[in-house]
Each structure stands twice: as C-alpha cells, then as structure tokens.
C-alpha cells in the first residue's frame, strides 16, 4: 500500500500571547511545530507501515524553513519527503492551497491520502476535503480510527458530536485525522542523524499538474478584509478577601442580577 500524508508547519498557537498594551500578537520566541492533527495522521500512516509494510510519503507546502518538519517526518520513519514551494503559491487561501497540493498529488501514486483534520493556525478543516474534491476521491473527515482489510477496503471510525459513525470506503480515498486518534511516536535517535542525510525533493509549479490561475493570491476567492486583536471588555471588580466575605460578595451579585431572590 502507498500512503501520502500532507503535513503543515504551524506556529504553536498555545504559546502565542497578546501584548496587553498594544493588543498585537507576540510572535517572538513562538516555536514552529508540525501541526498536531497532521502528526497523528502521520502516526496512523506509520502504524500501517509497521503492520502492513506500507510505503509512506510526506508532502508539505510552505516556505524554505518548513524543511524542518520533513526532516522530523524522516526521523519518525517515512520513506519519502516532498517540499512544495514556489512564489506562485504565495498568498493562497484554503482553496488555492488545495489546488496546489492536488496538483502535486496528481504526480504521486497512492491508495490512501491522509491529512490532519485542521491546522491550529487557521482551524478551517477545509484543505483535506477540497483536495479530495479536486482529485475526485471519496473523503472521510474527523477520523478516529481505520482498519485496512489488506486488499482494498478500509473500515473507518468517524467522530461526530454525540458518538461515531462506522464507514466503509475503497482505496484510493482521502481521510482527515483527529489528534485524539493516537499518540505520535518520538523521532528515533539514529533517525534524527539520518534525516539530514536523506533527500527532500523540492517541487515547484513546473513539477506539478495544475492550472496556474487556480494558485496563490489569484486563485484565492477569499481575502482578509481586516484583522484585529479580540476586543476584551473592560475588567470588572476584583476582590482579594477571605472566603466568607467572598461568598457574601458573590451572593450579593447574584441577587443584584436577579439570579437569586
């Protein structure tokens, strides 16, 4: 079986803070990481490799520094890494991003394409299903688990709000994986050294199969009208008092707001 995993380098948004004076994002010192949902997707692929001997390719689209997550993927055990990078891809929204990735994926033979459900910098959950559409493949999003029958049929467990669905799909297909699906393995120590000896294939527009008008800023139907820090309302009263007094203050407030009689 051949598996391709789409991964993305993202700022660790849990480390981002807002400057309380200017209201702007403090990005200094915020580490870049492999997106958590993608990493679980990669782990799922590596487990299939361990069990069934799959060949695993990772692909990322991003600036030169995104090379780092491809090296990390090598150290975790993938067989091939492709870095999709070109100025023509710049300024892409989710649709244009999905076109570029689909363009690259047309050049790769696979049975299963895995993406993370969503990236923590955008939280859109769109690129996976959009790639599936461009490639005319069935999709299963919010994937928690997957079993392969060894021939061509997958049984999948898809998370929904109040439970789950069991679905059956034949290869080739696209899945988007939740980070709760598994715990990704650590990089192996020998693997980290070897990761830098291995070749990362760098692909640009000329290496992929896509209409140029669908790419980058030109290919993006959406644009940012404005961006702003979340406006917080002014802070309310603050008391530093003993427990009894504090409880009294809370009860008074509840009566004031007619929550208590």
């Amino acid at each position: 079986m051949k598996i391709v995993v789409c991964i993305k380098q993202v700022p660790d948004t849990t480390e981002i803070k807002i400057d309380p004076i200017t209201g702007t994002l403090i990005r200094d010192g915020v580490p870049s990481i492999m997106n958590p949902d993608d990493k679980s997707g990669l782990e799922m692929a590596l487990q299939l490799k361990d069990e069934k001997g799959a060949h695993v390719t990772v692909i990322t689209m991003g600036p030169p520094q995104a090379d780092l997550i491809l090296r990390e993927a090598y150290a975790m055990g993938v067989d091939r890494a492709i870095h999709l990078t070109d100025r023509k891809f710049a300024g892409a929204d989710t649709l244009a991003t999905s076109h570029a990735l689909a363009g690259a994926l047309r050049k790769i033979d696979f049975d299963l394409l895995i993406t993370g459900r969503q990236a923590i910098d955008g939280d859109t959950a769109q690129v996976g299903p959009q790639i599936a559409e461009h490639l005319d493949l069935p999709q299963v999003s919010y994937l928690e688990d997957l079993k392969f029958d060894g021939d061509k049929t997958f049984t999948m467990k898809r998370h929904i709000e109040d439970g789950y669905q069991m679905l059956e799909v034949e290869a080739p297909c696209v899945v988007t994986v939740l980070s709760s699906a598994n715990t990704p393995r650590y990089m192996n120590v020998g693997g980290i050294v070897d990761a830098y000896q291995k070749e990362v294939e760098v692909w640009g527009f000329n290496e992929i199969e896509v209409d140029e008008k669908d790419l980058g800023l030109k290919g993006s139907p959406t644009s940012v009208h404005k961006a702003f820090a979340r406006g917080l309302k002014p802070a309310g009263e603050l008391y530093e008092v003993g427990t009894d007094e504090a409880v009294g203050i809370i009860i008074k407030k509840l009566k004031e707001k007619f929550i208590l009689n």
Binding site: T94, A125, I160, E168, T222, K226, E240, A246
Partner: protein, 332 residues
C-alpha cells in the same frame, strides 16, 4: 461570473434523525436580519428523507421559501449525496450567499461544496455583517483565537460560510409568517457514492448540551481533582446549573469533551458563567466571553480570566465553592 445573477441568502438546515438542529435555526435568525437589511430573501434548504412536515416550522423561524429535497439517498448524512444536492441547487438557483452550521457535518460538507463550485468558504464564523457594497463580512477567530479576521469573498458566488453553533440568535417562532414550500428534485449520480455508512453509534444518551444552560459552573486546573468536580456538581445542583470545564480538565479525563468550553470545545453565552480555577487562556475565553455575567475565582490575581470577568475573587476556588454551596443550600 456575473455577480448580479446571484440572489438570496441560503441556509443549510441540518437535521439528524429528522430533528432540526439548533444551529440551523440560529442561522435562519441571522439570515433574516441580513435579508431585511439587503431587501433580499431567505431560503432554507431542508435535505433528508420524510422530513417535509418540518418545512412550515422553518418559515416561522425566518425563511421566505423552504426548498425541500426529500430522497432516500439523504436519509443519513454522507458527503457525496449531500454535496450533489447542494451543488445542484447552487448551479440552478445561484445563491448570493450560503451558510452552514460548523458542526462535524457542516465542516465536512462545506469545503466539499465550495471546491466543487469553485467559491470561497469562511470557516467557523462568529459574526456575519453586511458590508458597504452589500457584501458579506464574515468574522472568525484565527491563530487559536488570538486574532479575529474579517473575511470577504469578493468575486465569487455564493459567498459561503460555516458558523459555530451557539453564537448567533434564533428568532422566536412566528406562526403568522408566510412563505413558500417547494419540493425540489435532485438528479443523483450514484456512481460517485463511494462511502458506505455501516452504522451510527451514539455513545452516551445522557449527553447534555451546555450551550443551552442558563447557568454554567465551570472548572479548570485550580479545581484539581475528582473531589473538586464533585463539589462543583453540588454547587450546580443548588443553582439548577450545568457543569462545564476548560480543556485541561477534559484532557485530564475528569469530564467529557461535550462539556468543554472554548476554541476546541463549545461556545457558550449563559446568563451566568462561573469560572473556578480557570486561568483564562485565550482559547478558553473565546468560548465564554459573551456570557452575560462572569464570576471568576482564581488564586492568582494576575490570571487573565480577571480581564473578562464582571466579578473577580482572588482566592481558593475549592473553599469558595464549598462555602457558597452551604450558603445557597441554607437559602433554599
């Protein structure tokens, strides 16, 4: 694409087992406001099997026309039949804008539809307004809730957005409203149905929807352990409230994901939100800051939760919960 040809605000009505989901009514309520501002109409797309009897209720909730697609292929949601149905409606009727609830269903359907018709989709909107030129201004959180971005879809139609449940307001049912109900036939291409639904399993029938609660007693790291949550339960009982939590407590396994408030959980806006031992990371605040009254208790007086609370108490959350419960029990 001639933008002038595109008219109407279309709302996807999510139903599960024939039950219309709240988020659909919230979308209808918002669509009604936008349509009144634009002098346009609201179209509700009701897809499913043997669901037509619910169409009238959607008119009462703000629709001018209900497009009913009743087909066995749509009995339970799978991506392809629903995508085909919505895309046929888009291609034939040319909506100006189209909104879908940002549920696990909507977030599966939305991107597939947007890619098939080649238009933009703004995910997880928390606000939709009309811009100067009648365009939709769709605002959503980005960078894990650290930043808000207003997105536009200038030259493509329909302007599509998914909207988080619990952030928009449904209108009260107005039975005097009138509107049309249209049965719409979809020509399915069954050759493309390649995902087979084997079964849908409900894991817990006792799940409650914290977005419906008027009072939430919410706990974070400062609550510490199981005993802390039991104390919160007792307090919630005296107030007829529900218990919710920050992500840390869900990850630690003290409480289910269905009760998680925040960016990766639910957006709530109860009359009263108690934040006990919750530091107030932006990811949490994003899910509760619109609550009417926020009372926070935290032992760190610099905790960011105090920047959004109406009443802040610097102190031990566990002790205060215990004492407050005793006082309220006495009152009752």
């Amino acid at each position: 694409m001639n933008l002038e040809d595109y008219k109407g605000i279309y709302v996807f009505i999510e139903q599960r087992e024939g039950i219309i989901q709240n988020v659909a009514l919230e979308l209808l309520g918002q669509a009604r406001k936008l349509a009144d501002e634009l002098n346009d109409k609201v179209y509700a797309m009701l897809l499913g099997h043997q669901i037509a009897d619910q169409a009238q209720s959607l008119i009462a909730r703000g629709a001018d026309e209900v497009i009913v697609v009743d087909a066995p292929e749509l009995k339970e949601y799978t991506t392809e039949p629903y995508t085909q149905a919505i895309c046929q409606i888009i291609n034939e009727r040319k909506p100006e804008s189209l909104f879908i609830g940002a549920t696990t269903l909507g977030r599966d359907l939305g991107p597939r539809v947007s890619a098939r018709v080649g238009t933009g989709l703004t995910a997880d909107c928390t606000k939709i307004e009309v811009g100067e030129n009648g365009e939709m201004l769709m605002t959503r959180p980005a960078f894990g809730g650290n930043l808000m971005a207003t997105i536009v879809c200038k030259n493509h139609r329909p302007q599509m957005g998914t909207v988080r449940p619990g952030v928009l307001f449904a209108m009260d049912a107005d039975e005097s409203r009138t509107g049309a109900i249209v049965n719409y036939e979809v020509k399915f291409n069954a050759a493309k149905f390649r995902v087979k639904l084997l079964k849908t399993v409900k894991e817990d029938n006792n799940l409650i929807d914290i977005t419906e609660a008027r009072i939430l007693v919410s706990g974070g790291r400062g609550i510490g352990n199981k005993e802390g949550f039991e104390a919160m339960d007792a307090l919630a009982n005296t107030l007829n409230a529900e218990v919710s939590a920050s992500r840390a407590m869900v990850d630690a396994g003290y409480i289910g994901h269905d009760r998680q408030v925040g960016q990766t959980g639910k957006t709530v806006r109860p009359d009263l939100y108690f934040a006990f031992g919750i530091s107030g990371a932006i990811q949490h605040v994003a899910g509760m800051e619109d609550s009417d009254l926020i009372i926070a208790v935290n032992k760190d007086k610099y905790a960011p939760i105090f920047q959004v609370s109406d009443l802040g108490i610097v102190g031990d959350a566990k002790q205060i919960i215990k004492k407050l419960t005793e006082r309220l029990e006495k009152q009752n």
